[in-house]
Subunit: 336 residues, 2 copies
DNA sequence: CTGAAAGCGCTTACAG
DNA sequence: CTGAAAGCGCTTACAG
């Protein structure tokens, strides 16, 4: 890596001007075949890789889309599990770790769509300063609803298009799942077979509000307040004085927490009590009993976010974009 | 987004030079408090976000690490599932989609580690031209073993440090799982309870080779050749003339494919035949029977890759880094 | 078809 | 503590 070669090096080696080198790379047809060959040879010989910074600065465009997540639960960053060939532990245990699947799928969808459109994807997680740094690096930005303070969003939104993922927004383009109708539909299904219902809300925010609103259209319940974590599901289930016919949770994580407690107490699901979630995460597909839920198309959320951004990039005058993606009630063992 | 403000705009508004603006942002202590305040006000007022391109060009460093994947199985990029509130389908089916979990976890680990070290992570997937483009955008690059032609790797490797993920390499830094000993250990476990063994290899490459080598140290078998896909596992299981005592597969996907076929034929696992995989993907944890396997720490692979890159960035003279991460045999229902 | 030159928006010695 | 100026490595009208 001794001092990466630049256009100047290539130009000199090929005996042409730097303009010609640039042309060979950007619009090859504009250059005589013979000249082009010489330049290409120089590129290969010198190991030339154009600097995206220089190019981006010149054309005022990065061709990168940014995706900002709240801090992933960090793996502490402790020592890595190195190994010598001697030691290979044998065991049966196996830590669960499905919490982040949601983000992973969004990310995958976003990456695929960005690739299709010729953009690279930059992901970053962390605090506010990370977000504004990211904003300086990309042509457009997708952020999860409720993870960034308004004033910061407003600040970076003056520089590049911002799309809010999940949850409505008055200010920015956004894409979200059809929360309320999804939960309403599921509530109808539940209400048809249950008289007493407990509803476990999540942390306050648009998702929680919309889902609860949808539920309220179709049924009524004793309401508990969780925070979307499996742990809060466990806590609430543990505190239940008497068993309702059904426990509906604002997301799958909490529903899984509820199942944890019910199972440990020998309460049968769905016979004694029905349980439902929302999201459609993989863990709910594989739990026992498997979890009835409302499936959100996470990967599509990511894809849609990229589409929204590229659309606005192509036409900044576009009116505010607001996409709602279809959801789907998925009946499984916990509430067939 | 009317023409993003630059240092010049901020400088003018604050009545200072652009050098001072830059200092306020990069080394605030070097500027008198009063001046600093004025600049910060200008930044807020104008909505200034520094251009990472310009900065990167000036300091010759991007602070971004790249992660290159072979093309994700693309979701075709068809129409998105939009919705009106009226239609919420209710159903029971549920497509499986665990194929990419492997990459997702690597990515998550890499992102977390990059964030810890103050780097952003750029991910890209696709063909060769995407890889070289990516190389122009980052300070260092992690690529999956066997996904990029040698000559290309050599080319970009002249510009930035490259680390190979999974699989050894003579040329570049690399990090991999302890393949051979892991499979050897598992083979011992299997051999203790099985006389006839079928071994299903994966697509040729370092992973396949090392795992098979490890297996061969501990047992012998009739060998079949798959390609690491679930489908190939099904194909091979279907073609089996007579049932061995155990079927060991070079990865979990193929083992799951084998389970698919056995179940459909009413063959009991592990009673009639034992089955094992390698990787420790989530789908194997949740399958029925759950899958005995060798667990690789995927997230740690990603983390380690970032560590290796940052180490080399910090000291280009470092001798070649070669990390091997510990694996762990996980006994589950398919071969307890 | 090709080249000279300006400009993209920062950072950083160097003076003062 | 602050400013003038050079330089980072490209692209792109503009001439020829």
């Amino acid at each position: 890596m001794a001092k990466a070669p630049t256009v100047y090096d290539v130009a000199e080696y090929a005996g042409v001007s730097i303009a010609t080198v640039s042309r060979v790379l950007r619009s090859p047809d504009a250059v005589k075949a013979e000249t082009r060959e010489r330049v290409l040879e120089a590129v290969a010989f010198l190991g030339y890789v154009p600097s995206a910074n220089a190019r981006g600065l010149a054309v005022r465009r990065t061709n990168v889309i940014g995706l900002f997540f709240p801090r992933h639960d960090d793996h502490e960053g402790g020592a890595l599990p190195f190994s010598t060939s001697a030691e290979v532990p044998v065991g049966t245990d196996d830590p669960e770790d499905d919490e982040n699947l949601y983000y992973d799928e969004v990310l995958r969808g976003a990456e695929a769509e960005a690739a299709r459109r010729g953009f690279a994807l930059m992901v970053a997680s962390g605090a506010d300063d990370v977000l504004s740094d990211l904003a300086g690096r990309v042509d457009g930005l997708a952020v999860l609803a409720g993870t960034v303070p308004e004033h910061l969003l407003a600040h970076v939104g003056r520089r590049i298009p911002v799309v809010i993922l999940g949850g409505r927004d008055d200010e920015f383009d956004h894409v979200s799942a059809n929360n309320a109708p999804g939960m309403r539909e599921l509530a109808r299904h539940v209400a048809a077979q249950a008289t007493t219902i407990a509803y476990v809300r999540g942390a306050p925010g648009p998702d929680d509000a919309e889902r609860f609103a949808g539920f309220s259209e179709a049924a009524s319940a004793t309401v508990y307040r969780g925070d979307f974590t499996r742990r809060s599901g466990r806590l609430i289930a543990s505190g239940l004085d008497e068993l309702p016919d059904a426990i509906m949770c604002a997301n799958d994580q909490m529903a899984l927490g509820v199942l944890d407690v019910l199972e440990s107490r020998g309460i049968r699901v769905p016979d004694d009590v029905r349980v439902t979630g929302f999201d459609g995460i993989a863990a709910g597909r594989h739990s026992r009993p498997s979890l009835t839920t409302v499936h959100q198309p996470m990967a599509e959320l990511g894809r849609a976010a990229v589409q929204v951004i590229t659309a606005r990039l192509a036409d900044p005058g576009l009116e505010k974009q607001s996409l709602t993606l279809a959801v789907r009630v998925v009946l499984r063992e916990s509430c067939p």
